[in-house]
């Protein structure tokens, strides 16, 4: 039994009044002259048994009356009384993650979940309190009709959402309700990856996982251009999840770049030198299946001519050798557009700048940096052995380095650190490294990542037009992303645009490639794809998931009716106020009858 207004139970103390009156009857203080008292005495003697029984009956009726009124005032809820269900606070978590678009039994799972949600809301009463929470964690409240309208508006999301957060919000929402019955009702496809990290809720929980097995899925798990900037040659690597052979197509812009077939565990690798130039959108497509959401994956790349590079002698022999290798591989061209030189010898930007070979040249180097507008200066030399941190340069040993000191307000990125201090920094037209490219200062020139790193630096940081982002930004639908400074607009490959309000903003929900525009020019790209784990449609068993999310008392169902029943059965206590008031009226009538019409048996 639970009570909506338990404070009224304090009125129960009044039950002592009839008891007290009954026990104190013999201590009446009022005296009344009544000459026929002898008849009264005789009446009590002749009818003592019936009078005693009647007094007991009256006392019981009055005690019961007080109890019934007290309980009615406290607005109790009892199991098994009345019809329907008691007022219940229900937070409905409707899983609209992208995995629910999988077709099972001829229709998308989401349609079945939405129908079940509609059925649940329709089964509610005006006394219930309902909220709808979708997988993005958004909470909607309101009347039954308003929620039905909201359900009609809910569409499958483009991503996985955050069902763990949605469940936590649902739990906290119902916990804040004052209604006696509170439950979280979850309608989900039961995808195993969706519920990783979800905490067990303290409320009751009713779970719906529709029957049926997930479809056999083929998915493009990843697709990326290597490197992000093709000059103009590069590779596209895609990873596909499939149990058998499947046909694929690679598209750049509107042009099909390649077609083919791949099998289980075989990555798709395409090396190409396409004629397009600038930022391009592409995608890898598979033949459609019952889960079409992951049949295509988008990628973006920048295509341009190979950067013309020259390595100055001041940069060291290792730099010159690496540049020669890149030129030989076609990823760079001989020319003076980009220079690799020490700071005291670099004459123009763009350039990869190293410290001077002689410490006495440090002053000249810093003056040259100032002249070129580079907002960094070489500081004191550090000769302690440290390792670098940052991308490809992780774990590279550094034994001698100059501290990089900001000059004024430095803009740009720190590409790597050493000893916790900036070691490689980049900005418009420059990449500055704190150590000479010499094994006596750092192991970088003799490490395998050196040449690819140098290729990336040339292509992404130095060959790109001034202010260009360089590499595409990978994003999940609706999740926060950081845009480059000065970004003004996002433009999809279909031409639709969105204004950029801040550097940190939520990525578009719509999957695809969104070009970053600044001054009307494409300076980068945001690639929005569903998380690859959404392609893993393996499900929880409903009871196991219910136990995980709601503990051993949580209920699970595979049908709409069962789910609705479970939801309101958790609050199966029904309002008992009216039956108690009826009981109180009956007791009043019985008491009046006993007082007025009950005649004792004549002795």
């Amino acid at each position: 039994m639970s009570f909506l207004s338990p404070l009224f139970l304090m009125l129960g103390a009044a039950v002592g009044v009839p008891l007290l009156l009954h026990l104190m009857r013999r201590n009446i203080a009022t005296r009344v002259d009544f000459p026929a008292a002898r008849y009264l005495l005789r009446a009590e003697a002749e009818h003592s048994r019936s009078l005693r029984l009647r007094n007991l009956l009256l006392m019981l009726l009055r005690v019961l009356l007080v109890v019934a009124l007290t309980l009615a005032a406290a607005r109790p809820f009892l199991p098994g009384l009345g019809v329907g269900h008691g007022p219940t606070a229900v937070a409905i978590v409707l899983d609209n993650s992208i995995s629910t678009t999988a077709v099972v039994g001829g229709s998308p799972v989401f349609d079945r979940l939405r129908d079940a949600t509609r059925q649940l809301i329709s089964a509610s009463t005006p006394e219930d309190r309902l909220w709808l929470i979708t997988s993005d964690g958004r909470v909607r409240g309101g009347s039954r009709d308003a929620l039905l309208a909201e359900v009609a508006r809910v569409a499958p999301a483009e991503g996985a959402g955050d069902l763990a957060t949605a469940l936590a919000r649902a739990a906290s929402t119902v916990q804040g309700s004052t209604l006696p019955a509170r439950i979280v009702a979850v309608a989900t496809d039961g995808q195993r990856t969706s519920w990783i990290g979800a905490a067990r809720v303290a409320s009751s929980l009713a779970l719906l996982v529709p029957s049926g097995n997930p479809p056999s899925n083929r998915a493009v798990l990843s697709a990326a251009a290597e490197p992000g900037r093709w000059t103009p040659r590069g590779s596209l690597v895609a990873r596909v999840e499939t149990r058998d052979s499947v046909g694929y197509r690679i598209v750049i812009g509107d042009r099909t770049l390649s077609r083919g077939a791949t099998g289980r565990g075989e990555p798709i690798v395409l090396r190409a030198s396409p004629p397009e130039r600038g930022w391009q959108a592409g995608r890898v497509e598979l033949e459609p299946d019952d889960f079409p959401a992951d049949d295509a994956r988008h990628f973006a790349l920048w295509i341009g001519p190979a950067p013309a590079v020259t390595a100055d002698a001041s940069a060291g022999t290792f730099a010159a050798t690496a540049v020669s290798t890149l030129i030989a591989d076609g990823r760079a061209a001989a020319g003076a557009n980009i220079r690799l030189a020490s700071a005291d010898a670099v004459a123009s930007l763009p350039a990869l700048i190293t410290p001077p070979a002689e410490p006495v040249r440090l002053g000249a180097a810093n003056r040259e940096l100032e002249r070129l507008g580079v907002p960094w200066r070489f500081g004191s030399v550090q000769r302690n052995a440290v390792v670098a941190r940052g991308g490809r340069l992780d774990n590279v040993a550094v034994t001698e380095r100059y501290q990089l000191v900001r000059a004024g307000v430095a803009t740009g990125d720190t590409l790597a650190t050493a000893g916790g201090e900036p070691w490689v920094v980049a900005g418009p037209g420059y990449v500055l490294i704190g150590s000479r490219l010499d094994p006596a200062a750092t192991q970088l020139p003799v490490r395998a990542p050196f040449v690819p790193w140098l290729a990336d630096v040339l292509a992404v940081r130095l060959a790109a037009p001034t202010g260009d982002v360089g590499a595409p930004i990978a994003a999940l639908p609706g999740r926060p992303i950081r845009l480059p400074a000065g970004a003004e607009t996002l433009e999809s490959s279909s031409g639709s645009r969105r204004s950029v309000t801040a550097e940190m903003m939520d990525a578009p929900e719509e999957r695809g490639v969104w070009f970053v525009l600044r001054g009307g020019r494409r300076v980068g790209a945001v690639v929005v794809n569903a998380p690859p784990e959404e392609s893993v449609l393996e499900r929880w068993r409903a009871p196991a998931l219910a136990a995980t999310l709601g503990g051993p008392l949580a209920r699970s169902a595979s049908t709409n009716v069962g789910w609705v029943s479970d939801t309101f059965a958790a609050g199966a206590t029904r309002p008992a106020g009216t039956p108690l008031l009826v009981l109180a009226l009956l007791l009043i009538a019985a008491e009046a009858l006993a007082v007025r019409t009950s005649r004792p048996t004549v002795a």
Binding site: R25, R31, R38, Y39, L40, A43, L58
Partner: protein
């Protein structure tokens, strides 16, 4: 001939009637009203003696017109006769403390004693007007007043004066009063007992039996307040008998039904045991008009005659 209908005082509410004047006057109104309500004149029959003339009134029996006077004086008169009587009535009035009680009610109500005294006065006057000899015995825990039955003109004054005397003894020695009545009335006569009968019935019955054995016609008027009859009091209290100090705690609503049953039993017992002796018995409630007990007593007198 136009008749004038005069309100009959014997049908008035007793309390309202008592407020109009001294009970001696009120008694006259009651008796006048009572007599005017009788359908037949009591002054006729074989055993009557001439008493007076009065002017003829339409409706008078022509048999009693004095034709000699009509012929001689051209004036129509009718002869009036007095009935000879040998009835000796004794009224025994209970004036104990239990009689000096009335229940609280919305309507003004007389105490049982006030009602009984007014009834006694009216009854005595009625009998005296019938030329009967009327005596009075007042008692509480002892006989307070004892007036032998007389039919003289001053008897009414004596009776009225006696009714004004105090009483209110703590008990009711009814047996002694009945014994005193037996000694006062040597010839066979009528004894009318006016009491609330809050006495032990077994203690009274021998005296009753003695009166009946002496040939007296005994009539008992059991005076009760309506609250004593139906226990219409309310609330929880200690109900105390002012005479015996008997103290009974009770909730009126709880015990009312049982009380009524008990009072029914008591009345039935009195009626049965007095009836077995050939004595009359009636319950008189203090909110009833005096006509009711008067008619009962007068009926008994008529039967006796």
């Amino acid at each position: 001939m136009e008749s004038t209908r005069v309100p009959r005082a014997d049908l008035f509410d007793p309390a309202a009637l008592s407020a109009l004047g001294h009970f001696e006057i009120v008694a006259r109104w009651i008796v006048d009203g009572f007599l005017s309500g009788l359908h037949r004149s009591p002054r006729k029959g074989f055993s009557v003696e001439f008493a007076d003339f009065r002017p003829y009134q339409p409706g008078d029996d022509l048999r009693y017109v004095d034709w000699k006077i009509a012929a001689r004086a051209d004036r129509w008169v009718v002869k009036q006769y007095e009935e000879e009587t040998n009835l000796r009535a004794t009224i025994i009035l209970d004036v104990s403390r239990s009689m000096d009680w009335r229940s609280a009610s919305e309507e003004p109500r007389l105490t049982k004693r006030a009602y009984a005294e007014q009834l006694t006065a009216a009854l005595a006057l009625l009998l005296l007007r019938q030329r009967d000899a009327v005596g009075l015995i007042r008692f509480d825990d002892a006989v307070r007043t004892s007036i032998s039955p007389r039919a003289r003109s001053g008897q009414w004054r004596r009776l009225v004066a006696a009714l004004a005397e105090p009483g209110n003894g703590r008990a009711s020695d009814l047996a002694a009063a009945l014994g005193q009545a037996a000694r006062l009335v040597t010839r066979r006569g009528m004894v009318i007992l006016v009491s609330d009968l809050l006495v032990d019935v077994d203690a009274v019955m021998p005296a009753m039996r003695g009166l009946r054995a002496a040939g007296h016609d005994v009539n008992v008027l059991h005076v009760m307040d309506p609250a004593e009859r139906d226990f219409t009091l309310a609330g929880e209290a200690r109900y105390t008998d002012p005479e015996s100090e008997l103290d009974v705690p009770a909730a009126a609503a709880d015990v009312r039904a049982a009380y009524r049953t008990t009072v029914d039993n008591v009345i039935a017992e009195w009626k049965e045991r007095l009836g077995a002796l050939g004595a009359g018995y009636e319950v008189i409630l203090t909110d009833q008009p005096y006509a009711i007990p008067l008619r009962l007593a007068f009926g008994a007198r008529e039967r006796r005659s």
